[in-house]
Assembly symmetry: C3
Amino acid sequence: ERPAITSSARPPESLDDGELWEEIRAEAKADTQQEPALASFLYSVILAHSSLDDSLAFHLANKLASPTLLATQLMELFKQVIRSDPGIQDAYRADLRAVKARDPACRGYSQALLYFKGFQAVQAHRVAHALWQRERIPLALALQSRISDCFHVDIHPAARVGKGILLDHATGVVIGETAVIGDDVSILHGVTLGGTGKETGDRHPKIGNGVLLAANVTVLGNITIGDGSKIGAGSLVLKSIPPHVTAVGVPARVLGRNK
Amino acid sequence: ERPAITSSARPPESLDDGELWEEIRAEAKADTQQEPALASFLYSVILAHSSLDDSLAFHLANKLASPTLLATQLMELFKQVIRSDPGIQDAYRADLRAVKARDPACRGYSQALLYFKGFQAVQAHRVAHALWQRERIPLALALQSRISDCFHVDIHPAARVGKGILLDHATGVVIGETAVIGDDVSILHGVTLGGTGKETGDRHPKIGNGVLLAANVTVLGNITIGDGSKIGAGSLVLKSIPPHVTAVGVPARVLGRNK
Amino acid sequence: ERPAITSSARPPESLDDGELWEEIRAEAKADTQQEPALASFLYSVILAHSSLDDSLAFHLANKLASPTLLATQLMELFKQVIRSDPGIQDAYRADLRAVKARDPACRGYSQALLYFKGFQAVQAHRVAHALWQRERIPLALALQSRISDCFHVDIHPAARVGKGILLDHATGVVIGETAVIGDDVSILHGVTLGGTGKETGDRHPKIGNGVLLAANVTVLGNITIGDGSKIGAGSLVLKSIPPHVTAVGVPARVLGRNK
């Protein structure tokens, strides 16, 4: 096992917001010294900014920009939304801590910020969701489309997503309009929270706190996955699952209660 | 439920081609007024054009362009192919109506045109297929590659695709060289129409009219899905399925006849 | 069946390295004559270069470049790594021969080089892996992220990948940190070589030589797929599979010995 690139060995939950930003800057400085080829990239995304909010807004804007949706325009939008919404600020920091704590391949907070498209997709969705709630529907839909183009994750801007989310690998994730995801949820690549196609209105899954949805899990319909439950890779879930159990299979069956 | 952004409450099938274009322009104008940040985007993609054909050609060209395949070059190509092929014109309009009619998250025709990578992938495929049939094989293969890069959908340019197609969410869809898809087919993300690896020549599935293939369905081999049949999410189909039934499972079994 | 675009009818394994490069140039020249719209693209990617190493470095650099990771910088890096590593040179040529020999939709070596994102992802991973082994961790992680952004394939740079690899269609493939893949392996789209989430350290699958993993196969944990075995589409593999068998299902069961 190689050593982590974090300069601190402290557990993620122990860092306050100021320490988190300092830790990310320390990681970026160490990487700049080790790899001069990345210096201008790390400077522009992290070291040039006076806050983590601004660094995130800059990075997302550059990832999602297109010839017709300019990076400067997106950056101003993201800065405005993130700075004005303490809920988003709290949530994305909880996500950074969650990725560091739960993903064994994550070596530092800056890695999640810079390189994990699942983390980036969730944060861009938080902005799209805030726009949706402020009735800026066309802009929210434009962002949803850019998130799907750039991060291969299709989250409807109306979907409600808690904090402490790990969206690992992320390719192919689809989350429908009326889905609700609790706090501290881990979702792997290829997961679908979809409709059955037979319902309209409130038609998508509700995912409890602390749930784990493994790779390529499909959950369909307005059903519930109870708090703390785990759904095994490749499972198809068509009925509600109680809290604190493990379920697997096509269709999913409960194996037993989690310890 | 929020109101749709369409200015018209008329059902999709009732709009003739001229009315469809007028409706799309009306939606774009309404969005421009509501969201000035999108004005230049909506102007360049929709309002600046004198026909839906040209708007589509412009938009696809800009999405698929690269440093080595220039947008201007692609736009001329797409305009030429679309303008000279009434079959493509008819098919993409049927697709717009299909998305509006069948996708409950679609609020207007302009949303499908502007933002749905599944719609865009199918239309770019129609152009690649026309080039393939005109023996412009290298260019068709170049387009296939750009569609896979930009829309995460890999459709071989020889595959034959009907009209009234909904490719929903679209990430991960793979459609092989000798596949044939009928009219009014709905295909969700992660669907594969592939070969078994044991056959050469005509080796891919034939999908009837009005079929629904739910998320992550895999259909392998030169088999048939009968008209009007529905295949449940995550199913693996290795044998032909009769018309007007629902089939599910790994491997898929017929549950019963559709009402 | 249309004729292949290769000018030579010789089987892939019979071409030596010099003949392979000459064959790719001959294909590019033929395509340039048939399709002038592709002339500048084919010139810049293939015909302008004096070696296949440099052509590959140029093409990967342009595909993976971003506003903050410049193409010129990446090209120098890729040239340095590829030119200094005979193992990579040998492996990517074996991959080109494998794609041509095993993918019935592949009409020529230049098609794999130019257009197959699975081929491109594997070669970019080989560079990232070389950087990882030289302790250039931050740059390896930056490349992993660009590969996931551009090719929709997430391969940890520490994963060890043999030669003669076909990564077909490629969207959604995820390969974990401690995975090992042998020689002459075929992997279709949507394949996961992941962890169970319960282990740390050496926690990912070991794939033998000559294995076929069909579409959407999920293999989890530090288990082995024996040499020459085939895993059917959509299977979930949670226990080791012996050599030279076919296994299918959720969870996978051995059907019988391969002939």
